[in-house]
């Protein structure tokens, strides 16, 4: 009712009020024929004061339920009350049972009321309005896989013109298209396709521009929350030659349903003489594809005993800067030892040395020695070297593992490089200190891992001989891979809303969990969280202190319906944790604001009532039931219209307050 009766006219509520004021006397005269009861209705039905109604009822209902209102009005006043008829004043923008029009069932229900319904339709002609009416998207999508978001655009009062439609992820455009509007067609369904390139929970917004004179500005965009998950971790494994180390590592990765593995083993080098090429199953190593265009499609690259040098013609060294940049831009690289790795493979002077967690010592050879590696202080609490929960049990698992048989000689990086040695080889010394065996590094936006031995397979297969099974080996490499690809469950700071969507007005409950440098619960740590709107503006903020279990509870009140990004910080934690939440819109999904005079007249017709339409229309000839003659023992005439009869006059609060109908919070 807040909408104009016709484009450019007064609001429908005002028109209805004026109509009631104009015809108040006529309606009052009906009192002679029947009791007149006044109701206002939207979703609910409530008695109304006719004087107030004549001034115009405030358009505040969130719904318009014509049939429900009629049924409620008919049922009011008890069984002895008989309804002579009803007069209903509404824009007919029903968004309940009659939303789809008057079908057989609705017609039957109207007839079952048992009285004529007279209608006055308020408003004709749809206001000019463009709306993103519906966005159909899944709750989650896979990173790097194309996602199709189906958008239904509704345009009323537009001629032939092009409307650009954009899909934004928290401000940046990820897809766009153009919808060609045609005269006479008001709904358009278009797909928007994009491939998310990051995992996480994000607020996406589909938006159309706002044109002059539109009835509702807010429905030109609609936001939704999409969780982008990793489908599978894509791993590139390159091995310099077949070996037990790469054999067991490939077997482990191949068995993991979460890993999509692409592997290349160098099966022959330039000096090997296997015979005619056509009798071999060997393929040329597609260096340029793998280390060029395809590189960024991998979540992690593993070099297992792989030297860049010996393959003349392939010129792998040309791609080493690319590989370094891949790491700095957020990729993950692991170098695993052997006689072609680290210094043995002369990586010390290459661009890869800038990102590796250790300094390869060029020109050295692997130290051949049976070594039981030892955890460093960092290694005791790092997820890569956590083979069992708890300090003592973890150390015991490491102590029980079979010794490694060779160590590549590398030097630990200076503090400040972001690298940590987790496992070292006592007895194999480099510059007076035990040589690193396992080291990790955060460099640029990426992560690197060094495993300076080709004997980790012994932690599985050899350990299994003594009945230990191969669990330690599986744990080590699973942990290493999860750390490399930043498995979200390994992040020290996490935030999760209680529910993905909340009702309007309700607070958003959040759990923030933190872990300290030792990967234990960070009790007493100060955390904060805020809600950010689509444009990145903070709209609510809260602080808390983590309890003994490392978690903190926060409740933030969002300003209104919509989709919000949740960003949590903890003291001393550089990386914030993020999530998203949707606040549902208050009104019904469909915010179709068009008046439907044809529905109003159809209702009248179905029940034998009269109808008219505003603006311009008069009070229709009211069809009311005739009073029946009641015989009580002897013939006696009773007044035609008895006071038992009631006319239910219903003035609709009708098309809801638009604020409540904003097209927000699609989930």
């Amino acid at each position: 009712m807040a909408f104009p009766v016709e484009p450019g006219g007064p609001t429908r509520a005002a028109a209805a009020g004026a109509f009631l004021a104009e015809h108040r006397a006529e309606l009052a005269r009906l009192q002679d024929r029947a009791d007149v009861e006044w109701y206002a209705f939207g979703g609910d039905v409530a008695p109304a004061d006719p004087a107030a109604a004549a001034k115009g009822l405030p358009p505040t209902g969130g719904r318009t339920d014509l049939l429900g209102a009629l049924e409620a009005a008919a049922a009011g006043g008890g069984a002895t009350r008989k309804v002579a008829g009803a007069l209903i004043l509404s824009d007919g923008a029903d968004n309940a049972a009659l939303q789809g029009g008057l079908d057989g069932a609705a017609r039957a229900k109207l007839r079952a009321l048992g009285f004529p319904v007279n209608t006055v339709a308020v408003g004709r002609g749809a206001p000019r309005d463009l709306a993103v009416e519906r966005v159909a998207a899944d709750d989650f999508a896979f990173v790097r896989n194309t996602v199709t978001v189906e958008v239904t655009l509704r345009a009323r009062g537009f001629g032939d013109q092009d409307v650009p439609l954009v899909l934004r992820r928290e401000g940046s455009v990820v897809a766009e298209t153009t919808v060609k509007l045609e005269r006479g067609k008001d709904r358009y369904t278009v797909p928007l396709r994009f491939a998310p390139d990051q995992t996480g929970t994000f607020v996406f917004t589909v938006a159309a521009p706002v044109f002059p004179g539109e009835a509702i500005v807010e429905n030109n965009q609609r936001s939704f929350v999409l969780r982008v998950i990793r489908d599978r971790v894509r791993v590139l494994l390159v091995a310099g030659r077949p070996s037990w180390d790469v054999r067991f590592l490939r077997g482990l990765l191949k068995q993991d349903p979460n890993v999509d593995l692409v592997s290349f083993f160098i099966l022959r080098s330039n000096t090997d003489q296997p015979g005619p090429q056509e009798e071999l199953s060997l393929i040329p190593f597609p260096v340029a594809e793998i280390f060029g265009d395809q590189l960024k499609t991998f979540d992690a690259v593993l070099f297992v005993n792989f030297a860049y040098g010996p393959y003349r013609g392939l010129e792998i060294d040309r791609f080493l800067p690319n590989l370094r940049d891949y790491v700095l831009d957020g990729g993950a690289l692991a170098m695993v030892g052997g006689e072609q790795s680290f210094g043995d493979g002369r990586y010390g002077e290459t661009p890869l040395a800038e990102v590796l967690p250790v300094a390869p010592l060029d020109g050295t050879a692997e130290a051949e020695a049976e070594v039981r590696p030892r955890l460093t202080a960092e290694g005791r609490r790092h997820p890569v070297t956590a083979l069992a929960p708890g300090d003592g049990p973890n150390a015991a698992v490491w102590a029980a593992l079979p010794p490694i048989t060779a160590v590549n000689l590398t030097r630990a990086l200076a503090p400040g490089a972001g690298a940590s040695v987790l496992l070292e080889a006592p007895g194999v010394e480099v510059e007076g200190r035990p040589a690193p065996v396992v080291a990790v590094r955060e460099v640029g936006h990426g992560r690197t891992l060094a495993v300076a031995t080709d004997a980790t397979w012994r932690w599985g297969f050899v350990a299994a001989e003594s009945g230990q099974g191969s669990r330690a080996y599986l744990r080590f490499w699973n942990g290493a891979l999860r750390w490399l690809v930043r498995d979200p469950s390994l992040a020290p700071l996490q935030v999760e809303p209680d529910a993905p969507a909340v009702e309007p007005g309700a607070p958003v409950g959040l759990t923030v969990s933190t872990r300290g440098a030792d990967w234990g619960p960070a009790a007493g740590k100060k955390v904060s969280a805020e809600l950010r709107s689509d444009d990145g503006r903070p709209v609510a903020r809260g602080e808390a202190v983590a309890g003994a279990d490392g978690t903190a509870r926060l409740e933030l009140v969002p300003p209104g319906p919509g989709a919000y990004k949740i960003v949590a910080h903890a003291e001393g934690e550089a990386e914030p944790a993020t999530a998203a939440v949707a606040v549902r819109g208050a009104g019904p999904e469909d915010a179709d604001v068009a008046p439907r005079p044809e529905l109003m007249s159809a209702i009248a017709e179905a029940t034998g009532g009269g109808s008219s339409a505003l603006p311009g229309g008069e009070l229709p000839d009211l069809a009311l039931h005739e009073a029946e003659v009641v015989e009580i023992g002897r013939r006696k005439a009773v007044p035609i219209w008895d006071r038992w009869w009631t006319l239910a006059a219903l003035a609709g609060t009708l098309a809801a307050e638009w604020v409540l109908r904003r097209r927000w919070g699609y989930w």
Binding site: P242, K254, E279, E339, E366, A464, S470
Partner: protein, 256 residues
């Protein structure tokens, strides 16, 4: 590995010469690899004639080094199923001529565990037996070790026939069966059994002579035996790597 003491010094001398020749021919490695980083095949010592072709694995290793990037140990390492250290050798070799006494339950359990955790066993009938001799004993033990995984012929399309060479036939000193059989665990071949005396085709005296003629196919059959050996070693180290999708178009082009 017991050897006649009389020949020891001369053999050692000749081996030294052969190794020098190898190094001259393949000057690709400046220094020795750690022994544990090499492919050292563990040869199972059973209570029968367990080492009928003493030079076979050595020669296969030589060919692996010459033809592929595999780094083999100089010779097979004798292993006992009931002694610790079996798992240092993920690839085992069970050969023999004539029947051998049954393994103890402990030996069978040890071999079973080895295979279940990812180990690989090549079985080679040096006596070319079929239904008796080594064949009967080997089948008895294999059935007892992996009762749920019966020996089955390996189809031609199997990745074993394209791990390095594209193979469409079998080789060996003899051709008792034109196929090899295998026992599979978790979709991987854990045991491969040849009745064609692969070792007899590989065996070469230290004077550089083949120890046995190959019948009926002659030297082509010997070459195929080496190719089978290369593919088996590649399979042990790479399993189904050549089934990865990236290789398919190349391989199909060559096979057509």
């Amino acid at each position: 590995m017991p050897r006649p003491p009389l020949l020891l010094s001369r053999r050692a001398l000749l081996r030294g010469a052969a190794a020098a020749g190898l190094a001259a021919m393949l000057p690709r490695r400046a220094r020795a690899l750690p022994a544990a980083s090499l492919l050292a095949v563990g040869q199972i010592q059973h209570r029968g004639n367990w080492n009928p072709r003493p030079s076979a694995i050595r020669r296969l290793g030589w060919e692996l080094a010459r033809r592929t990037s595999i780094e083999p140990a100089p010779d097979a390492v004798p292993v006992r199923l009931d002694r610790p250290g079996l798992h240092r050798h993920p690839m085992l070799y069970l050969a023999g001529a004539g029947p051998f006494p049954p393994f103890s339950e402990a030996e069978r359990a040890a071999l079973r565990r080895h295979l279940q955790y990812g180990g690989f066993l090549l079985v080679d009938a040096a006596d070319g037996s079929d239904g008796g001799g080594f064949d009967a004993a080997a089948r008895r033990e294999l059935a007892a070790v992996l009762p749920a995984a019966p020996l089955q012929p390996v189809p031609r399309e199997h990745v074993l026939n394209k791990t390095f060479y594209l193979l469409d036939r079998q080789g060996g000193r003899v051709l008792v069966k034109p196929w090899v059989e295998a026992q599979a665990l978790d979709g991987r071949l854990a045991v491969v059994y040849s009745q064609n005396d692969l070792g007899g085709a590989w065996a070469r005296s230290e004077l550089g002579e083949w120890e046995y003629p190959c019948t009926p196919g002659g030297e082509a059959q010997r070459e195929t035996a080496f190719r089978v050996g290369v593919n088996v070693a590649m399979y042990a180290l790479c399993t189904d790597y050549k089934d990865d999708a990236v290789h398919l178009p190349f391989i199909l082009r060559r096979r057509s």
